[in-house]
Amino acid sequence: MSNSVVMYEAEYQQIKTVIAKLCDDANAKMVFLVDKNGQQIASHGEIGNIDTTSLASLTAGNVAATDGLARLIGEKEFPVLSHEGEKDNIHISIVAQRVILVVIFDERSSLGLVRLRVKRASNELTDVFESIVRKVEQHKEQGVELDSPFAEITDEDIDNLFRE
């Protein structure tokens, strides 16, 4: 399966910096970055006891369903989704065609401000994700094997995972 997604340490730190800044600049409560398949990539803010794994999966489901709706009516996508609650609001946008940026904010911020800050953060995140893609391609060209932890996995390792 050569279609694995990877995340490296350097890019991970860059991503964390970008979303921390976004959270500050937008006066948001929390910011999440989620893979389109529902895996959480990074988060920042007052997470508290929010179940971030569920949040990631539901966000991805939401985006997938909305994408499906868009195609049904002949749109390519709806690049931004936003939901308004009594106290908290959620702003969801797609970055670099494949990751989902989620911003949760309350009355300390506004949709306008969030939108503005998301725009800049998106550009920065797009650069980071392009750099990951370049790295993976370079590695492939140079024939460098991705240093996968599974290269040397044994049957025993796999069996051990399932031992209670």
Binding site: V6, Q13, D51, S148
Partner: protein
């Protein structure tokens, strides 16, 4: 689509339970959820109708342990089996690493099994996957009921490629973990090949 995070040293894999309506897909996840230690599981999310039929998906994150210093997580999803939810099924197959087909052993559900298997193969193809190549396990569920088809006949009708086959009584847990282990193992072996 396996997600390998070198920064947090985690690997996430996606497994989808597929099959005809009322076959027992949600029951598989429910049993795994009920019997797994709290520290190894997240919340079980069910997007269901008022009559407990899956509407969009069920989702259960499982943490199996560590392989070579990497935390290994499996994200288990079920699809809605009812025929008219096909658009949702397609969405859930995106990024899949392994599939479990939960067949209903009852005589009157044979056509539904065949229809659903055919639907799986097509929807995989539409996403660029090949059932013949993807990690895959066949579960023959509801073996406790009286009006069931024999294992041999079910295998003859439903096996596609020498995949592992398990008899199950999902609500009692019979065969549930054997099925999960078999598909998870194939996913990990596939990862090993991919990196080898």
């Amino acid at each position: 689509m396996t997600f390998i995070n070198y920064a947090s040293r985690e690997i996430n894999c996606k497994i989808v339970y597929y099959g005809p309506g009322l076959g027992g897909k949600t029951t598989n996840l429910q049993y795994i959820y009920d019997t797994t230690a709290p520290q190894a599981k997240g919340k079980l999310i069910s997007l269901a109708t008022e009559t407990d039929r899956t509407l969009f998906f069920d989702f259960l994150p499982l943490e199996l342990g560590t392989v070579r210093g990497f935390k290994t997580r499996f994200h288990l999803y079920t699809v809605p089996g009812q025929v008219f939810y096909d658009a949702s099924r397609k969405l859930i197959l995106k990024g899949v690493d392994g599939v479990v087909f939960v067949a209903d052993s009852q005589t009157e559900r044979m056509d539904a099994n065949i229809e659903s298997l055919w639907n799986l193969e097509n929807n995989l193809k539409a996403q660029g996957y090949d059932l013949m190549k993807i990690p895959y396990v066949l579960q023959l569920n509801k073996r406790d009921l009286p009006n069931i088809i024999s294992m041999d006949e079910l295998k003859r009708e439903l096996m596609r490629k020498g995949e592992p086959v398990f008899e199950a009584v999902a609500y009692k847990g019979v065969g549930v973990f054997d099925t999960l282990k078999a598909v998870a193992k194939q996913v990990l072996v596939e990862l090993k090949k991919g990196s080898g």
